[in-house]
């Protein structure tokens, strides 16, 4: 409820026509001004600062999970592109780098990648591919492209998990064949998923030029997963 008191001075030499309209000082004008609000505005009105931490985390986790589902079952939808976020790629990249790194107690001889090397390869690779796509004239925004490329590492992270489990068994050619098969399948899945999202943003005569670096990127990550040897 809002109350306003209006007072207006009568200035006949300026507003000649209004001379007969005068509001005396001691008559307050009051009333109620209500603005019909939609219920959605009231949510933002309370602002996400006031909600519980659990709400915030669950909302972000649900968004990430929904995008994971979109990657696993790639359809031509805009969800990944519209509401991009970089939480998913960060989680995936950290998981992958943790699993791929060599232990710190190892000697110089073990030449596997360090955590930082994997991290740098993933992020700089994604940035380079995004820059390449934009330079070729694609109409996708920088972070949308990073989001898609990061989320499509999900199949390869799953392949890494499977490989680590398989490596717990005894080594041998069968072991290697199983890992090779899993990595190839997941590599193809990553390519298909990312192409489904990224290919439409390029002009048609340059699609192959934009997709090839994505292929190279996931190939290198697959290679790192395949050649991972435990200590």
């Amino acid at each position: 409820m809002l109350k306003r008191v209006l007072s207006c001075h009568n200035s006949p030499h300026v507003f000649a026509g209004l001379s007969d309209i005068s509001i005396s000082q001691d008559i307050p004008v009051e009333g109620e001004i209500t603005i019909p609000v939609r219920s959605r505005v009231r949510e933002f009105d309370s602002s996400t600062l006031n909600e519980s931490v659990q709400n915030t985390i669950m909302r972000d986790l649900k968004a990430v999970g929904k995008k994971f589902m979109h990657v696993l079952y790639p359809r031509k939808s805009n969800t990944l592109l519209r509401d991009w976020d970089l939480w998913g790629p960060l989680i995936l990249c950290v998981t992958l780098a943790l699993m791929l790194q060599r232990g710190s107690v190892d000697s110089e001889k073990d030449g596997g990648p360090q955590f930082a090397e994997v991290f740098v390869i993933v992020w700089f690779g994604a940035v380079t591919i995004t820059l390449n796509s934009k330079l070729l004239g694609g109409n996708i925004s920088f972070f949308q492209s990073l989001c898609v490329l990061g989320y499509c590492i999900l199949p390869l992270t799953m392949a890494m998990l499977v490989c680590r489990l398989v490596l717990l068994a005894e080594p041998g050619p069968v072991n290697f064949m199983v890992r090779l098969f899993v990595v190839i399948i997941m590599f193809a899945w990553s390519i298909v998923a990312s192409t489904a999202f990224l290919a439409d943003s390029q002009p048609p005569n340059r699609k192959a030029l934009a997709v090839y670096p994505v292929f190279l990127f996931y190939f290198v990550i697959s290679w790192m997963i395949l050649t991972f040897t435990p200590q």
Binding site: K109, D110, G111, G112, P113, Q114, E117, N132, K134, L135, L136, G137, G172, N205, R206, K207, A208, L209, Y212, P213, L216, F219, V220, W223, M224, T227, F228, T229
Partner: protein, 306 residues
């Protein structure tokens, strides 16, 4: 002021008649692109080489020069400036790769394929692919050579990727820079007809490295003779592409300097391939020697454990 008469179209007749009427007037004759303008006087006739006609006298190339000059107008701090270097279509990239694989004698790679539209897509991604091809093939070949040895623990040598990247990108950028600087310096002393821009040289070098990608993959085969044959073939192809590209640029120069330039270009190319072969790929015979001098009980141990 222009009168009505001045606005009417006029027939000027043949160039010969107008030249006869006014010998000082300059006339421009535009022929069909199919004909080479053999009646143009000048130093070209003295040399009598067909390449120069193809290089300079072609109307088509003049048009592309004009168009290219209109393209790059954005200042270098805008994104659009760099987009002009990626203004290629898929089929153009394929054509350029094909041109680097099949050097036709007499045809200049830059004139035929690049045509004042040098791109950075090809050089950058060919170098990136080559880096990973060499690193992965090196690891694979070492793994296959040492396969069966119980004492050998396979490690994916990741630092080789960084070393390979440094070597290849340095070669693909610094050598063109040096060559361009050298050509500019010679150009100031001897007037060369053909001169290349820095980006065109980078383009040629980048695409000439493409042949090394299948070569690196085939280097996995652990036979020394096979590897050296591959080196020779790759060097012949990419060396000839480079030589035929740069020969017109140094031809007017002192004979010795021209030859020295071409020899240096090919030599550096050979150095790159031989260096990569030596560093990333273990020699097969050495390890066979080791396994043969070791006691046969090692193979027995391997057989027991598998």
């Amino acid at each position: 002021m222009a009168t009505v008469d001045d606005l009417q179209f006029e027939e000027f007749g043949d160039t010969t008649t107008s030249l006869a009427a006014n010998p000082d007037a300059t006339t421009i004759s535009i022929e069909d692109p199919g004909e080479t303008p053999k009646h143009k006087p000048g130093p070209l006739r003295g040399l009598g080489r067909e390449e120069d006609d193809e290089l300079l006298g072609n109307d088509d190339s003049d048009k592309t020069e004009l168009l290219a000059g209109q393209k790059k107008s954005s200042p270098f701090w805008t994104f659009e400036y760099y987009q002009t270097f990626f203004d290629v279509d898929t089929h153009q990239v394929f054509d350029r790769i094909k041109g680097s694989l099949l050097p036709i004698p007499g045809k200049n790679f830059v004139r035929l394929y690049v045509r004042s539209n040098p791109d950075l897509y090809g050089p950058f991604w060919i170098c990136a692919t080559l880096v990973f091809a060499i690193a992965i093939s090196g690891n694979l070949s070492n793994f296959l050579i040492h396969l069966g040895e119980k004492t050998y623990h396979y490690v994916p040598e990741f630092r080789k990727v960084s070393i390979a990247a440094t070597i290849i990108y340095a070669y693909a950028w610094l050598v063109p820079l040096a060559l361009w600087g050298f050509l500019v310096w010679r150009n100031s002393k001897v007037m060369n007809i053909v001169s290349y821009s820095f980006l065109e040289i980078v383009c040629v070098y980048g695409y000439s490295l493409f042949i090394y990608i299948p070569t690196a993959i085939l280097w996995i085969i652990p036979q020394k003779a096979v590897r050296w044959v591959l080196v020779m073939i790759a060097l012949a192809i990419s060396g000839s592409v480079l030589a035929m590209t740069f020969w017109p640029a140094v031809r007017e120069d002192n004979r010795r300097i021209a030859l020295a330039t071409i020899v240096t270009i090919v030599l550096l190319h050979m150095l790159l391939s031989v260096g990569c072969l030596a560093y990333f790929f273990d020699a097969p015979e050495m390890d066979h020697l080791l396994t043969s001098t070791a006691a046969p009980n090692q193979t027995v141990v391997a057989a027991k454990s598998s």
